[in-house]
Amino acid sequence: MNSAAPMNRTAQTEHVPEFITQNAVAQQAVADAVPTFWIAPKHLREAMTLLKPQYPLLHDLFAIDERLRKHRDGQPAADFTVVYHLMSFRLNSDVRLKVALQGDAPHCPSISDIWPVANWYEREAWDMFGVTFDGHPNLRRILLPPTWTGHALRKEHPARATEMDPYSIDQDKLEFEQEALRFVPEEWGMQRKSDDSEFMFLNLGPNHPSVHGVFRIALQLDGEVVVDAVPDIGYHHRGAEKMAERQSWHSFIPYTDRIDYLGGVMNNLAYVLAVEQMVGITVPPRAQMIRVMMAELFRIASHLVFYGTFAQDVGQMSPVFYMFADRERLFGIVEAVTGGRMHPAWFRIGGVAQDLPRGWDTMVREFIDSMPARLDDWDRMAMRNSILKRRTQGIGRYTLEEAIEWGVTGPGLRACGLDWDLRKARPYSGYEQFEFEVPTAEGGDCYDRAVVRIEEIRQSLRIIRQCVDNMPEGPYKSEHSLAIPPPKDRTMKDIETLINHFLSVSWGPVMPAGEGCFPIEATKGQNAYHVISDGGTMSYRTRIRTPSFPHLQMIPLMTRGLMVPDLIAIIASIDFVMADVDR
């Protein structure tokens, strides 16, 4: 019952090319008011080519297994759907295309030659759903091992180990798995030698001090010069999207903490905003501001880790300790407020878990008062160091066009000079009340990406100060019947509230059928949860669009022709965590 979904905005379709509105099989109403057109596979490539000049960012590409979905009113029949979410900076609007695919081995035209960023997204859809993208240059598994059988996000694929036979490995299987690990340069698109030299292949990772988690890059080296670098991801894949389909709407919140594990409640925010938007919950002002404050604290925490490790990866030993000491003080605040530290799981659908504790403002004030001077010190120590500059300026440079083409968002995009920040462009959770600037830089190199992030720390401090000064009184959770856990004060007074409370807490709330996506400006770029409810206590499909995933795909482009130490500086400047990439 999509029509039942509340519409806070109407779909803006005037910039969508006529070709699409005319050839669309159907138009779907979605909670996020993004104009959503169903289009036949044969029209897809032309539609994409027409849309690209207006909507240059391929924000997301993913598939849905529609075979068990009950509420599909008005949508064309489909076994699988591929969804394309495009974004325009100039128009500040989005458009979404959906392609209905039939059968158990669906085929869809590839758009990886139109948008290079689509390459990995299509591989992921193949890996998870078995959708074959015709024309894709390298349709291999990306998150799961090459020897995996089945497609994990299909509804018939078991979600729990208890649904499968006990795992065993015999000699044949062992040899088969080991053989699959053999490195064959040709399979990675590399040559063994050129006319005048034989290349060395260096396997950087998955365990390496500077790859920030379990990330592997196969390097083709000529001396120390990187001829080609091919990233290999998936070592940190935990099936978060699959888990979302087995957890209640409420109990999935802790899993979101672990997506960008440096972002803490920032992940909660993206998720609860998407769910709230889907069912139309309005969050009271106090809860909104608490959310903003905590999210900004975590932005600082994440950027501090970036700052320290960035300096460390170019060989400066000390900064990381100072930054971690600051982060530790920040976690003191987080702990006092939420009881948790890195993964507080503290936001709730409809608000936050508790009110702020007594004395919170003194703690926060102490922290934000002390930080600016310390940041200036860190600037003198790290950013103005001439060796650090020489290691990072002009290294790993990309242009604004390349950045958009490859799906870069967040500080990496702003370092190319575009002041695109969703907090300003599409204020959510009350960001319109705050005064802050969107820092940008011009060069688009490693150094500029760091400069932007460090300035963002200062802006976040500004936002937090405004939160402390203007924190409104009032409830910290919505009165909406789907807010969870529901308010308890009247449960002993009337039976309907008691029943609702009991059901919401024991089963979890039953969210009405609907669909919607909510992009936010997370610590590392744009994070978005595309949630689909089929009218149950659990999500039908939760798509997690993370910023780091497309960023890593750019590494070969940024590294070719540079040296191994430059690669390390580039990796550091991207600021990713593998949990955010692999989910």
Partner: protein, 320 residues
Amino acid sequence: MAELKIIGLLLLLLGGAVGGAAVMTWFERRVLGIWQDRLGPNRVGPFGIVLVAADMLKLLGKHDWVPPFADRPVFIFAPTAIVVAMLLGFAVVPYAPNVMVIDMNIGLLFFLGMTSIAVYSVLLGGLASHNKYSLLGGLRSAAQMVSYEVFMGLSLMGVVMLTGSFSLIDIVLAQEDLWFAVTQPLGLFVFVIAGLAESHRLPFDLPEAEHELTAGFHTEYGGMKFAMFMLGEYLGLILISCMITTLFLGGWQGPWLPPLVWFPIKTLAVILFFILLRAAIPRPRYDQLMSLGWKVMLPITLINLVVTGGVALWLSEGGF
């Protein structure tokens, strides 16, 4: 009796140098900890100093493993070379007027020779491991050492000119009125940089560069063989500091205190300076290090040499 004295001194030196290097591992971590707003090792014994013993026990207890793909004899020989070369280097250091193992008339050259031999250790260790990271580390060390050896030697020639001797005793005595640090500031500057590069410590730890090459040339080493590399590195640090004291800071000479107190004080100050550098400065890229060496350091050294030579000549003619 003279032989007994020499043997006693040798034993004392051996124990002192090796023990000093071991304590240095603790000292460095502790000092870095304090500078970096943290505690550093503080659990075992007073101020955590017994950690040195605990570390040694741990390393001794490790499996003495040689990777099957490594070049076995070279793999085993490499870590010993650096320790032996560095220890031999201590033989020519004059700690006090009569406290030194041997007063060679080419003491300075002997020291330079020993540090050159230590390079082989890193190079061979990297090659014998048959590991790609080690190989890259070995390659880097070869390039780095070759270029920095050149002006490490040249940077000291100013001192030699002013003294008129390669004997370290003579060099110390020549500084009775004025330290060479004052008359040879460029020489000191270049020697400090070259010494850093020779002992391959941050910021010049490119052969090791853990952020890039995991552990560089000693990636495959473990247990005591790894400990030998570390020992060699810390011996190198102490030796370079001793040499800076001897060549530029007036050696054992100083007012009020006896020579055997002045020498360690000065050396320790130099060591602290090296640790501070490690804490503060990032690592340049390999080609940047090379160009720094050939395009900045070498010209500075040559200018220093020409100027010093001119001044020495002028002074010997009796000035005006």
